[in-house]
Structure formats: structure tokens, C-alpha cells
């Protein structure tokens, strides 16, 4: 050590130890205080003459407190002692109330000596070190104990986490099972209604057999307005259609289920056995996968203004089948810009080639909107998609148009807030004459209560405002699928439109065509998978799972998972990088394909397309490069 360092150290130590003493000395140097506190007559002590004044005015200035007792205690710690005059001399030189303090080293003429005044038991350096060591040891012990306690806590938390995880798994399985049951019931009901309808038709036919010429048109009218079909059937159908079999949470549920089954009895649930990827990788990334987060997908615009799609209140009301399905349908169209596909020319492609996406008859859409900007843009979107468009500027006009031109409109887009008559009231009125025409609310005011009232009054779906072309056309495809020149295969129809579209198609012909009998889940596994994938590459891994009991899901070994993940990741690109848990998704997709007897001839490009989350697909392939021209 150099001299400088030593002195600096000494200085430091001095400063530390005698800060109080320095303050004390400084205070006594101030002549202004001499009436209150001053050096003793011999300069070897100091006297507080006026206790009260000292406490109130000087203590706060120099020691930042106004507690005389504390000051005295501090003095004692530094080995100052009160000088007791009364015992020695019987009188006090400074007055009865004065306090005189003394320290052998504290003298008015020895300012340099201040450093020698230390706290009591400051002890020599070595002793202090020992004390430090002791303190450190003590600290270590305390820390150790805390650590042990924390560890135990963590352990307990972990245990309960595993418990909850397992319970959750059971619940999810149970829910999946119940969903399957409900779906089956739903289809049974549909079958029954269908059958009854047919019986009813036959009965009518027999009765009106002399009107054979109008047979087909009469047949058509039968279901389109529904007014001729028996009330009970209609009611039953309305109820069924009002129920949403699938809802947004399905996706998450499926993901959960997959996650549970993928991690299987791996680290998470077994707790001790270490197999497969480190614990947590199974579930957590799935839950936080930003690309797959349903929240981003509910509305085409990506805005879910004020609405929590997961709020349980409107779960049963929202007929969103699956988020992203419109965009999927669109993606299917724009993907095929290249060589025209002979059998499955997608609607957009057809349009591009100068044809119409629609079959024999173009649908006619009524757009009810008071804002002429929105109205004109909406009409343009629709007419460019080769629909017949009629426009009403408010609810009243809409009701009048529907009344005067019954059964003309195949679909109605309805603004909510309008002058004269609002959209909800208009819908309620239209429902009285047209119980089945799909009416879709267009609004930016989406909150739970609003949604409930929309659905309660007969709206079938919501198109978020500001609407996009994709959003609008998605709804067209969803509700007017039977008008499409190349309607999607039946299996997909059932799957896609399971909750609203099914009963709605106005013509029994197409209605029957949709094949109520061919149930989505069953035929999905058997009907030509290639064709299905061609037209609607909808199957996101998560959705396809809903058709299978979780127990059927493959319990892939981690190695396999990685292999497959790697394979698909090579093809499908970016989202693999983005999502830590991504490998599990493709693994599952692939496994599912195999399980479904997946198409061996399926081109790689298709496979890739299915891997991506719908949102991603939309971005990549989506909205209408076609229209750019």
C-alpha cells in the first residue's frame, strides 16, 4: 500500500467513525449558538445551556432530528459522558438545567483529534473483521434457510401445478368427448328434421300432384321461405341453427388437448422421469403462440373492438365457426392463380378468367347502410364479386324492400345504427316474413350485450366494420356456398357451415346436395382427402383434431416429433422460427394426415400451406392479388 492509500483509508475510516463528532464540533464553532450550546469554560467539555431551544432549533439543523434523548444516546455511544456537577461541587457553573458533556479527546483546541473519538466498542481492526466474518456467516445461514424455504415453496407450487395440470387434462378430455357427443346429437337432429321435411314434402306433393309443372319451383320455395314447412320443423331448425356447435374456444381447447397428449406422460405429469424435451416446452409455447392466438384471428381486420371473444357470455351465441375460415376460403382461391385446375376452379380464379364465381344463379345481396361511402364501397366489393346488389339507406327502406320483393334477397348485410329504423329492429321485422335469409350485422360497436341482442333478434353473423373485401366475400362464401359454381365438397361444407349455413340454403336441391347424411367428421376421414385439400386447405392442425377423440391422438415420441418438425419446418418457413413450440404443430399436422389416410400424392406445397396458421396464410397467399389488375 502506498502512503496515499493508507491516509485515504484512514481518512475514510475517520470520516465514517466520527461524522457525528465533526458535526458536533462544527456546531460548537458557531458563535451564534453560544447562548444555547457552547464549549465549557475549560474547553474540554461542551454545555447545552437551553435544552428546549437546542432541541428545537439546533438539533434539526445539524443532526436532522429534534430528539434530545436520541442526541444524548448518540453521545453516549461515542463515550461522551454527562458531567455531574451536583455531586462534586454542590453547584453548577452553567445553571441548573444545563447539560455538560465531556470526552477526554474532545477539546476546543484539538480539532485534529476528532478522529480519535469513535463509537464505543469500535474495537481494533481485527476484532471488527472477526465481527464481519461472524456477520457474514450469520447472513449465509439466514440466506441458506431462506433458500431452503423458498425451494420448498417452489416444490409445493410445482406439485400443485402438476395436480392442476392433470386435472386440466382430464377436463379437456372430458370436454372434447362431450363435444363429440353434442356434435353427433346435432347431426342426428338435422337428419331427423331432414327426414321429416322430406315426408312433409312428399305429403304436399301428393296433395298437389296436379301442379306437377310447378313442382321444382314449388319445391324450391318450400324451404327458402320456410313458411310452408310445418311450424315445428321450422322452430326446431331455428333452434339448431341458433346453437353454435363450434366456437372460438375450440381452437384453444384443441391446442390444449394436443399439448397434453403430446407431452403425454412426460416430465410434466410424471414429475420425475426425464424424457423428451425439457418440461414446459409442451404446453406453454402453445398457449402463447402469437401466430395462433385466436384473439388475432376473430375478425378479418384484426380488430376486435371492445369484444372479448372468450367471454363465456356470448360463447353460445357467436356463430363464428372458426376464426380465419373466410380467409382460408379466399386463400384457396388466390393460391391457384397459375394453371387453372380443371375440376376445382376456385371462385376467384374463375372471376379472373372472366367467369363468375357463382353457378346458375347469381345471388342477390341487399346492403343496408346509411353511410354512402361505406355503402358504395360495399356495393362495389359485392358487384365486383358478381353479386346482384341492392342498397337500402336505412332500416325502414330495407324492410320495405324485403316486403315488396319477397324472396329476392339471398343475403342481407345490415348496418346497426341508422336513421329511421335501426338494423336490429329492421332485422326483427324482416325475420317475420323471411325467417331464413342470412342477415349479417355490420358494425364497429361490438360488445357482448350488443352481440347478444343482434343474435337474439335474428342476425346470423357479424361483419366487423370497417369491413374489408375479404371479410365481406368470406361471408358470402360462407352463407351462399350453395350458389357457388364449384361448391366445396360436402364434407367440408358440413364442417365449415355446421352452425348456421346448414339449414339455411333456400333450395332443397342444394340443401340435399350438401348431404346432411354425410357427416363432416365421418366423411372427413374417408372422402377423398386430396380433393378436399385442393379446394379448401382449411384444416389447420388444431381444427382437424376436433373430429377425433383426444385418445386417438398420436403419442409421438420426442424424437419423432423433432424429425417431423424439422421436415416440415424446412418447407413451411418462417413461423417455425417465430414460435418456440412450433415443432409440435407440424408434427401434429403430419400425424393427423397420416391418421386420416392422408394423401400420399399430396404435393408438398399443399402440405406447407396447411401448416401455417390461418392468419399467416392469409398474409402470404391471401387477399386477391387477382384484383390488382
Amino acid at each position: 500500500m502506498t502512503e496515499g492509500e493508507i491516509s485515504a483509508a484512514a481518512q475514510g475510516a475517520g470520516n465514517n467513525s466520527s461524522d457525528f463528532v465533526r458535526k458536533l464540533y462544527k456546531m460548537l464553532e458557531d458563535p451564534a449558538y453560544s447562548e444555547v450550546v457552547r464549549w465549557g469554560d475549560h474547553g474540554d467539555s461542551f454545555v447545552v445551556l437551553e435544552n428546549e431551544k437546542f432541541t428545537k432549533t439546533i438539533l434539526p439543523k445539524h443532526f436532522k432530528h429534534s430528539n434530545f434523548a436520541s442526541f444524548v444516546r448518540q453521545l453516549n455511544k461515542y463515550d461522551f459522558h454527562k458531567v455531574r456537577h451536583s455531586e462534586e461541587n454542590g453547584h453548577t457553573p452553567y445553571g441548573a438545567s444545563a447539560w455538560e458533556f465531556k470526552h477526554p479527546e474532545f477539546r476546543a483546541d484539538r480539532k485534529d483529534n476528532l478522529d480519535n473519538i469513535r463509537r464505543k466498542a469500535p474495537a481494533p481492526r481485527k476484532a471488527q473483521n472477526a465481527e464481519d466474518h461472524f456477520g457474514q456467516n450469520q447472513q449465509i445461514v439466514v440466506l441458506g434457510e431462506t433458500l431452503a424455504a423458498t425451494t420448498q415453496q417452489v416444490q409445493q407450487l410445482q406439485d400443485s401445478y402438476y395436480d392442476i395440470l392433470n386435472a386440466n387434462k382430464v377436463f379437456v378430455d372430458e370436454i372434447m368427448h362431450l363435444q363429440k357427443l353434442i356434435r353427433a346429437q346435432f347431426q342426428v337432429h338435422n337428419e331427423l328434421i331432414n327426414h321429416l321435411n322430406k315426408v312433409e314434402q312428399d305429403r304436399r306433393e301428393n296433395r298437389n300432384s296436379n301442379h306437377t309443372s310447378s313442382y321444382s319451383s314449388g319445391n324450391t320455395g318450400l324451404l327458402s321461405d320456410g313458411s310452408e314447412s310445418p311450424l315445428e320443423l321450422r322452430r326446431a331448425r331455428d333452434i339448431i341453427n341458433g346453437l353454435s356447435v363450434e366456437h372460438v374456444a375450440d381452437r384453444d381447447l384443441n391446442r390444449l388437448s394436443i399439448a397434453f397428449h403430446q407431452t403425454g406422460n412426460s416430465p410434466e405429469s410424471a414429475g420425475s422421469s426425464m424424457m423428451g424435451p425439457p418440461g414446459g416446452s409442451g404446453v406453454a409455447p402453445f398457449m402463447h403462440d402469437p401466430l395462433n392466438d385466436v384473439r388475432n384471428l376473430v375478425y378479418p381486420v384484426g380488430q376486435n373492438i371492445g369484444i372479448d371473444p372468450f367471454a363465456p357470455e356470448h360463447m353460445p351465441n357467436i356463430p363464428y365457426n372458426r376464426p380465419g375460415q373466410e380467409t382460408n376460403a379466399i386463400a384457396s382461391g388466390s393460391d391457384f392463380n397459375g394453371p387453372p385446375m380443371p375440376s376445382h376452379t376456385p371462385p376467384n380464379g374463375a372471376l379472373q378468367q372472366g367467369g363468375s364465381p357463382w353457378g346458375a344463379k347469381k345471388p342477390i345481396v341487399l346492403l343496408v347502410e346509411d353511410d354512402r361511402t361505406c355503402s358504395r364501397i360495399g356495393s362495389k366489393f359485392l358487384s365486383q364479386y358478381d353479386c346482384g346488389v341492392d342498397v337500402a339507406r336505412d332500416g325502414l327502406e330495407a324492410v320495405n324492400k324485403v316486403n315488396s320483393r319477397q324472396h329476392v334477397y339471398d343475403l342481407i348485410f345490415m348496418d346497426i345504427i341508422m336513421p329511421q329504423l335501426d338494423g336490429v329492429s329492421a332485422t326483427a321485422m324482416i325475420r317475420e316474413v323471411q325467417p331464413n335469409v342470412p342477415i349479417i350485422a355490420m358494425t364497429s360497436n361490438i360488445n357482448q350485450q350488443d352481440l347478444e341482442s343482434y343474435f337474439h333478434w335474428g342476425m346470423r353473423d357479424v361483419l366487423a366494420k370497417p369491413f374489408t373485401k375479404e371479410g365481406m366475400i368470406g361471408k358470402l362464401k360462407k352463407y351462399l356456398a350453395h350458389y357457388l359454381r364449384n361448391p366445396p365438397p360436402e364434407a367440408m361444407m358440413d364442417q365449415m357451415y355446421s352452425n348456421g349455413g346448414l339449414g339455411q340454403p333456400p333450395t332443397p336441391g342444394s340443401y340435399a346436395n350438401q348431404g346432411m347424411g354425410q357427416l363432416g367428421p365421418l366423411s372427413a376421414t374417408s372422402s377423398g382427402a386430396v380433393g378436399k385439400f385442393d379446394t379448401t386447405p382449411i384444416q389447420s392442425p388444431a381444427t382437424s383434431s376436433s373430429w377425433h377423440s383426444p385418445s386417438q391422438l398420436p403419442h409421438a415420441s420426442p424424437t419423432l416429433a423433432q424429425d417431423q418438425g424439422g421436415y416440415l419446418a424446412a418447407g413451411s418457413g418462417s413461423q417455425m422460427v417465430l414460435t418456440p413450440g412450433g415443432t409440435q404443430k407440424p408434427q401434429y399436422a403430419n400425424a393427423m394426415m397420416q391418421q386420416m389416410g392422408g394423401p400420399p400424392r399430396m404435393p408438398d406445397s399443399m402440405q406447407q400451406r396447411q401448416d401455417g396458421p390461418p392468419e399467416k396464410r392469409q398474409r402470404l397467399y391471401g387477399p386477391q392479388g387477382n384484383y390488382n389488375q
Binding site: T373, I377, P466, K469, Q618, G625, Y627
Partner: protein, 149 residues
């Protein structure tokens, strides 16, 4: 070209004019796509100029409604202009209209109820000033855009 368009592969970014942050390129782009010809932009131009008229009418009505302290009417007008500005992708105007809509409905910006009608009116007065300025900006931008083919 449009930097904000990078995320959206569906639109050919080379066709997209950069209209600044006040205009959402994707939304506005899909209206431009509706044009049969990029040379005259007949459809989008008529839509946009129609919107100008509409907006100016609405601002006048808003001024009147402010004078008569008709919050309900202000709510309605805010909603109305919000719809069309949103459809065109005029983000700033839309956001301000949404505020006016809320204040008119006696709500705070976050949707919580606000009982103080005077406060709502003050807020609308301020927001109306803002939205008029925002509108003037975007009007100039769009007029410039449609001037040069």
C-alpha cells in the same frame, strides 16, 4: 414506396402510394384496387371526394349540435363519420370521431361513463378542432394524390 405495407404481401406495394401515417395503406389500398383503371381512378376518386362532402357536412352538423349542446346528435354524427373514415382507412380522423362518439354518449375515452355533460361538451369542442385539422391534412394529401395520375 409504402413502408407500412411491408407486412401485407397481398398488395403489390409498388402500386401503393405513401400517404403518410394518417391513411392506412391496406384499407385505402383495397379501395384503389376497385378502380378499373389506375389512370383515372374513377371509382376511388368519386368515393374519396364523396367522403369530403360528407365529412364537411358532418362537421357543420357537429358545430350546430355543439351550439345546441345536443350530445345525442354528436354521438350519432361521430359514429357516422367514424364509419366512413374507417372504411377509407383515414386512421386519425376515425380515431377522433370515435372519441366524439364516446363523449357524445357521455363516456370517457376508455368507455367508462362520464356524468359531467359540460365536460363532455368541452372535450367534444376540443376533439372537433383536432379532427378538423386532421381532416384538412388528409384532404390535402388525398387531393394531391388524385391530382396526379
Amino acid at each position: 414506396m409504402a413502408a407500412s405495407d411491408q407486412n401485407d404481401d397481398s398488395h403489390d406495394s409498388s402500386n401503393m402510394p405513401d400517404l403518410g401515417e394518417a391513411v392506412d395503406t391496406v384499407t385505402f389500398g383495397q379501395i384503389l384496387e376497385m378502380d378499373d383503371s389506375e389512370d383515372d381512378r374513377e371509382f376511388s376518386k368519386s368515393i374519396v371526394f364523396g367522403f369530403f362532402e360528407q365529412a364537411e357536412e358532418t362537421f357543420e352538423k357537429m358545430d350546430k349540435a355543439l351550439e345546441t349542446k345536443n350530445l345525442d346528435e354528436l354521438y350519432r354524427l361521430g359514429h357516422f363519420l367514424k364509419g366512413s373514415s374507417a372504411t377509407l382507412g383515414l386512421t386519425k380522423v376515425k380515431d377522433s370521431c370515435e372519441k366524439i362518439q364516446r363523449y357524445g354518449k357521455k363516456e370517457n375515452v376508455d368507455g367508462t361513463p362520464e356524468e359531467d355533460e359540460a365536460l363532455c361538451l368541452t372535450r367534444i369542442t376540443e376533439t372537433l378542432k383536432t379532427v378538423k385539422a386532421e381532416y384538412a391534412d388528409v384532404e390535402a394529401t388525398l387531393k394531391e394524390f388524385f391530382k396526379s395520375p
